[in-house]
Amino acid sequence: MSHLSDRPEKPVVGVSMPHESAVLHVTGAALYTDDLVHRTKDVLHAYPVQVMKAHGRITALRTEPALAVPGVVRVLTGADVPGVNDAGMKHDEPLFPDEVMFHGHAVAWVLGETLEAARLGAAAVEVELDEQPSLILLRDAIAAGSFHGARPVMLTGDVDAGFADSAHVFTGEFQFSDQEHFYLETHAALAHVDEGEQVFVQSSTQHPSETQEIVAHVLGLHSHEVTVQCLRMGGGFGGKEMQPHGFAAVAALGAKLTGRPVRLRLNRTQDLTMSGKRHGFHAQWKIGFDSEGRIQALDATLTADGGWSLDLSEPVVARALCHIDNTYWIPNARITGRIAKTNKVSNTAFRGFGGPQGMLVIEDIMGRCAPLLGLDPMELRERNFYRQGQSTPYGQPVVQPERISAVWEQVKDNAGIADRKREIAAFNAAHPNTKRALAITGLKFGISFNLTAFNQGGALVLIYKDGSVLINHGGTEMGQGLHTKMLQVAATTLGIPLHKVRLAPTRTDKVPNTSATAASAGADLNGAAVKNACEQLRERLLQVAATQLGSNASDVRIVEGVARTLGSDKKLAWDDLVRTAYFQRVQLSAAGFYRTEGLHWDAKTFKGSPFKYFAHGAAAAEVEVDGFTGAYRIRRVDIVHDVGDSLSPMIDIGQVEGGFVQGAGWLTLEDMRWDASDGPNRGRLLTQAASTYKLPSFSEMPEEFNVTLLEHATEEGAVYGSKAVGEPPLMLAFSVREALRQAAAAFGPSGVGVELASPATPEAVYWAIQTARRGDASLNGHARNGSATNGHAGNGPVDGAVRTDAEALNGA
C-alpha cells in the first residue's frame, strides 16, 4: 500500500458524518457572500446595464441620465479601468465591451445608494447600437462556419480499415441541449479597499486565485495587493469556476473608485441571462461494428456551442473527446472537436466538463444501434467493455478494466435485473397504454485536470499552544463536503479527535496560486496537501513525544489525541504534547504541498496519460411511461459507484445521488430555449426564470433510490485510498435516458431503433412513442447504412415564432 493511501489506526476518514456546516445550514446561520452586505456599513449596490440585442457595436453610451437619478453615485464604464479591460484568461472577454456579443450583455454598471436607485439608474443609461447579424443556434453557426479556438483531432488505429472490417456501419447525427447550473445562490461579490489600498473581495467563487488574478489585472495591481475570500458557495457545479471573476472585478473597481464597499449580486434573471451554461453539442458520427456487435471504428465530429467567448470551451472539448469511449474499447477512432462561436452567453464548466457530452454521444449510439444489431442494449454494452491491456483512443492504458464490470455486475445483482425484466415484460403485455423499461449504463471518468500544471494543491496548518488546530487549504466549499473531508484528513493524520480541528475560510493570502476547486479533484489535491502539512507537524511532535516518553520517534503513535510508545504504558495527551513542543521552540505551523505524479499530456498530438486514475460506476434505472402523453416517472434506481475507500461515506453518497438527479435533469427535464426568430427579441433566453426553466423537484426523484459504494476499492494513487466523486455520478443518469428510449420502443414492434431528443421531455418521449408505434420500417432501413437525425425534437417548430406569454402559475 502506498504511503499516500495508507490509513493509520482509528482513522477519522471513513467515518460517516454530516456536512461540517449542517447545523449552520439548518438554522440559517451559515453566511454566504451576499449575507455579509447586511453586516457592512455604507455599501453601494451595483446594477448592470444590459443591452437587449444579440449583436451590435456600441455607437453611443450616455451615462448622464443615470447620474440624475436620486441615489445614483457613479456609473462604471470602460474608461474607468486602470488596468486591463478583460475578465477572462484568454483575453477575449472585455469587462466593459464596445461590442454587444449576446442578448443581455452588460456594457456598464451603475452604483447606487440602494439597489432600487442603481436599478433605476441602469434603466436611465442610454445605449445606441449599430446592430450586426447574429448567430444563435448551434446548427446555424456550423452552417456559417463560425468557429473559434482549437480544433483538436484524436486519432488512433486505422479508421478506414476499421470500417472496411465492419459488418455493420451506421451513421447519424445528434444534437443535445445545454444546461443551466442553477446554483441556488446567484453570483455575488462584495469588495472593499482598506487604509493601505489593499483590495479585499469576498466572492462566491470556485477559483479564488484566478478571481484574484483578474481583479488585479483589471485594477492594474499586483496579486499581493488583492485578497479574495470565499466563505462558502450556495452551489457552484462549475458555474463559478471562470464566471465570477468579472463580477468580482466590477465590485473591486467600484470600491477602488468610490472608497466605499461595493456589493454586486446578480438576481436570478441576470444570472441566467449573463452567465454561461453547460455546452450543448452537435455530433455527426459513423460507427462500425463487427458481426458480434463489437465496435471496430468510430469517426465523429463533436461541435460544442461555445457562445461568444472561449472561456473554458477548449478544455471542455478536450475532455469530451477523452470521454467519447466511456467504458468501451474503440480500436480505430478519428474524433474531431470544434467550438462554434455564437451570440449567446459564454458557455463554461459544468460538472463533468465535457465528459458527459462525449459519453452521451456514445451511449446514444449504443442505445440506437442495439435494436438494429438485434442485441439487447445491455448485452451490446457488455461486449464492448475494455479488457486488460487495452488503451483509450488518446493512449492511456486502462489499468483497472475489471472495475467496469465489477460495478456493472454488482448493480445487476442489487437491482435484481433478471426477475425485474420478466416482471416488466409481463406488465407491458398487460398494459397497452403504459410501458416500463429498465436500462443499465456504466461510466469511466478520468480524474485530474487535463492540463498537467493544474494538478497541484496547497495547505497551511496551524497548531496553537492550547492544542487546537486550524487548517487552511486552497479548495472552496460549495456543498460538496470538501471541508468536511479536509477536517477528517487533518484529524486522521495528526491522530486527534475531529473537534480539535477547525477550518478557516478559503483565502488567497493563506494559500497562494491554487487551482480551481474543479475536475472533482478538490479532495485529491487539497487532501494530499493537508495531509502533507500535518505529516510535517506530526514528525516534529513525535520527536518531542519520544523525548518525553523515553523512546524513539519511530515507536511513537498518536491515536485519538494521545501519544503512546510501543511496549510502554506511558502516554502523553495531545494538549500537553503541543504545549511542551511550544516551550521547546518547535515550529507549530506547516505549509503542505502536493503534485499529482505520473501525468503527461500533449495537447497537440492529443496523446498522453492525463488522468491519475478513472472513477467508475453503474446505474440501473426503471421508468414508467404514459402512452397518452409521454409523461413518465422514475420508479427505481440502483447505483453502484466506485469512490475508492470513501473519506466520508455520507458525503460521498450525497454526491452520487445529487449528481445523478442533476444529470437526469439535464437529460430529461431541463430545456433551455433561445429565441432564434428574426423578431425584436432575437437571441433572448426564453427560459430565464425558475418558472420556465424547470429543475428536478421532489416529483422527479426516483421513487426507490439505492446507492451502494463499491467495497474494497482502495485507490493507491490518492489520499487515504479514496477516489474523486464530484462529477462522475452525473453521468449515471444516462440510464434514465436509455430506459425512456426502451419504454418508448415498447409501444411499437421490436427491432426498431428509437431516436430520442435530449432533453427527453414528456413531449420528446411522446414523439418517440408515436414513431415507435408506426413501427417505422422506413426509418429503420434509413438508419441502417443511411443517416438518422435525432435532434432537439422540440426545437423544430419552436425556434421560429415565439410569442411571449405572461406567466400565470400563481393566483393574486
Binding site: 456536512h19 421532489f698 406569454d805
Partner: protein
C-alpha cells in the same frame, strides 16, 4: 392608526422604514435575518419560505409556510412570522443552539449540502410538522400497484411530500430530505409553536402604510374596501400577492396603491347550499382544499397540481380569475363545473357565468372598482371527472395545456359533457364542439375517437418554450382518450 408592526420570531418589530413594495424577504434580510434566502424571487424555489400564523382550519391557528419573496411586509401588519433562525432555541453563549426537530433530522441525515435552500426547506417542513390533520398514512401494501405512488408521497408519519413541492434543491437529489421528513415525530406539548396553535390567530389589522407617495392599504370590511376601490380604481388588488409579487420582483412594477383583500370576512366564507357551493374569493387554495375535503372531486384533482403548497397557501380563486391568464389552472376546472363568479362593487352584486367572464387576453367583464367576492359551483356535480394538466414537471409547473372534464354518463349514454380548456386560446374556453360531439351518444370508443378528433382542433395552440403547437393539440385529444381508458379499465377491473 398605529404604526405598522410585525412580530418576527417573537420580537415585535416596526415595519418602517420599508417601502410599501418591500417584500418580507428583503425586510428580514435588512434586519440581519439572512437565513431567509432569495433563490428566484418568483415563488418557485422556496429558499425564502417562512412560517406565518394564520386562522386555522382544525385549530384556532395554523402555521402556514409562504414565499417571503412575494409578500409585501406591509401585508403582514399585526401578524406573526417565524424564520429558520426562530425555529432553533438559542444556546448559552458559545454553545450551539438546540435544533428544532425538523432541523435536527435535516442536519443528521445529510439533508443539506450547500445549505442555501435549507432554511427554506426547514420552514416548509416545520409547517407540515405542525399541520394538525397530519395523520399516519400506511405505506402501500406489498403487492399493491406501485404505479399508484400516492403512498410514496406520504410518510409513515403522515408527512405529505407535496408540502415541499415548492422547494428546490440543486445538490442532494432529495433522497436524504425525504428520509428526514418521513422521520420527524409529532410536536410535544411543551413546544411553544405547537402551543401557539391553540390560541387565537393574530387578528387582521386595518393598514394604511404609505411612504413616498406609494401606499399599501387594508380595510376591515368589504364595504370600506369597495368604497376605496371606487375612489382608487387604479389600485392593484392583492390577496396572497403570489402574482403581483412576481410583477414587482421580475418586471420591476411599482404601484401607487395596493389594496389587500385577503382577510375580508365576506370573502372568506365557504357555504354549502342544496343547489350550490359558494367559495369565498379570498380563501386560499389550501384552505379550500382542506375545508372541502374532497367534496368536489374535480377540485380535489386540481389542487395538488396547482403550483406548489407554498403558493397555494397564499393564492386564491379570486386571484387566479382576477389575473385572467389563459394558462391559469383553475379556470378549466371551474368552466367544466359550470361555475359562476360573484362580482361586487359599491352598488351591489351581480353573478356572471364563468363562460361569459373572460373577454380577451387577461381581459374580463369585471369593471374598474369591482371585486370578485365568491365563486359559485352549482350542484349536483357530474360524476365522471378528470383534470389533465400537461406540463414538463409533475410538481409546480405551468401547463402547456390543461383540460378538465365533467361528464354525466347514464346507461352508457353521455347525457351532459362539460369540458374546460386552458392554454389553447387567449382565454380559457369551453370546448362546446367536443361537448356536442359527446352528448347523446354512447360512451364508447367510436364516440370518443370522434370527439377527440374535434377536441384536437380546438383553439389555436401556440409554439413556445413549454411545448409545440402540435403537441398541445395532440394532448387535447389524448386527454379524452385517457379519460375513456381510465373509465373502461375501472369497469373491467
Amino acid at each position: 392608526m398605529v404604526a405598522a408592526r410585525i412580530t418576527v420570531n417573537g420580537k415585535d418589530t416596526p415595519i418602517s422604514p420599508a417601502a410599501p413594495h418591500t417584500t418580507v424577504l428583503d425586510f428580514l434580510r435588512e434586519r440581519g435575518l439572512t437565513g431567509t434566502k432569495e433563490g428566484c424571487a418568483e415563488g418557485e424555489c422556496g429558499a425564502c419560505s417562512v412560517l406565518v400564523a394564520r386562522p386555522g382550519v382544525d385549530k384556532p391557528t395554523d402555521w402556514v409556510a409562504v414565499n417571503a419573496c412575494l409578500v409585501p411586509v406591509a401585508a403582514l401588519d399585526g401578524q406573526e412570522i417565524i424564520t429558520s433562525e426562530g425555529l432553533a432555541t438559542a444556546g448559552e453563549p458559545g454553545k450551539p443552539p438546540t435544533l428544532h426537530p425538523v432541523q435536527e433530522e435535516m442536519a443528521v441525515r445529510g439533508g443539506s449540502q450547500c445549505g442555501y435552500c435549507t432554511p427554506g426547506f426547514v420552514c416548509s417542513m416545520a409547517a407540515e410538522y405542525y399541520r394538525p390533520d397530519r395523520c399516519a398514512h400506511p405505506d402501500p401494501a406489498d403487492g399493491a400497484d406501485p404505479a399508484d405512488s400516492a403512498g410514496a408521497e406520504h410518510g409513515p408519519n403522515g408527512f405529505d411530500l407535496h408540502a415541499l413541492s415548492g422547494n428546490l434543491c440543486r445538490c442532494t437529489g432529495y433522497r436524504p430530505i425525504r428520509d428526514a421528513v418521513f422521520a420527524v415525530g409529532t410536536p410535544t406539548d411543551e413546544d411553544p409553536l405547537a402551543q401557539r396553535r391553540e390560541q387565537s390567530p393574530p387578528a387582521p389589522v386595518a393598514t394604511a402604510y404609505t411612504r413616498d407617495d406609494a401606499a399599501f392599504l387594508r380595510k376591515s370590511t368589504l364595504t370600506e374596501t369597495l368604497q376605496l376601490l371606487r375612489e382608487r380604481p387604479d389600485a392593484v388588488v392583492v390577496a396572497g400577492s403570489t402574482d403581483w409579487g412576481v410583477e414587482v420582483n421580475i418586471r420591476s412594477r411599482r404601484a401607487d396603491c395596493v389594496v389587500a383583500v385577503d382577510r375580508l370576512p365576506e370573502l372568506r366564507e365557504l357555504r354549502v347550499e342544496s343547489d350550490s357551493i359558494e367559495i369565498g374569493a379570498a380563501l386560499t387554495l389550501t384552505e379550500i382544499e382542506r375545508r372541502l375535503d374532497g367534496r368536489v372531486p374535480l377540485l380535489a384533482e386540481l389542487f395538488p397540481q396547482f403550483a406548489s403548497r407554498l403558493i397555494r397557501n397564499g393564492a386564491t380563486l379570486g386571484g387566479n380569475l382576477g389575473t385572467g391568464s389563459p394558462i391559469g389552472d383553475s379556470p378549466p376546472v371551474l368552466l367544466a363545473l359550470e361555475a359562476s363568479v360573484v362580482l361586487a362593487d359599491a352598488d351591489g352584486e351581480r353573478e356572471v357565468p364563468l363562460a361569459d367572464y373572460f373577454t380577451g387576453y387577461r381581459q374580463s367583464v369585471r369593471r374598474p372598482g369591482e371585486l370578485i367576492r365568491a365563486v359559485r359551483v352549482p350542484l349536483p356535480l357530474s360524476p365522471v371527472v378528470a383534470f389533465h394538466k400537461i406540463a414538463k414537471r409533475r410538481f409546480d409547473d405551468i401547463s402547456s395545456v390543461a383540460v378538465a372534464f365533467a361528464l354525466d354518463v347514464e346507461d352508457g349514454i353521455v347525457r351532459t359533457a362539460r369540458i374546460g380548456l386552458g392554454g389553447v386560446a387567449a382565454t380559457p374556453i369551453r370546448s362546446l364542439a367536443t361537448e356536442a360531439a359527446l352528448e347523446g351518444r354512447p360512451w364508447a370508443a367510436e364516440t370518443v375517437e370522434a370527439a377527440a378528433q374535434v377536441l384536437r382542433g380546438e383553439g389555436t395552440p401556440m409554439n413556445d418554450h413549454r411545448a409545440s403547437a402540435e403537441y398541445r393539440s395532440a394532448m387535447l385529444g389524448q386527454s379524452l382518450l385517457k379519460l375513456y381508458a381510465r373509465t373502461t379499465e375501472a369497469v373491467s377491473s
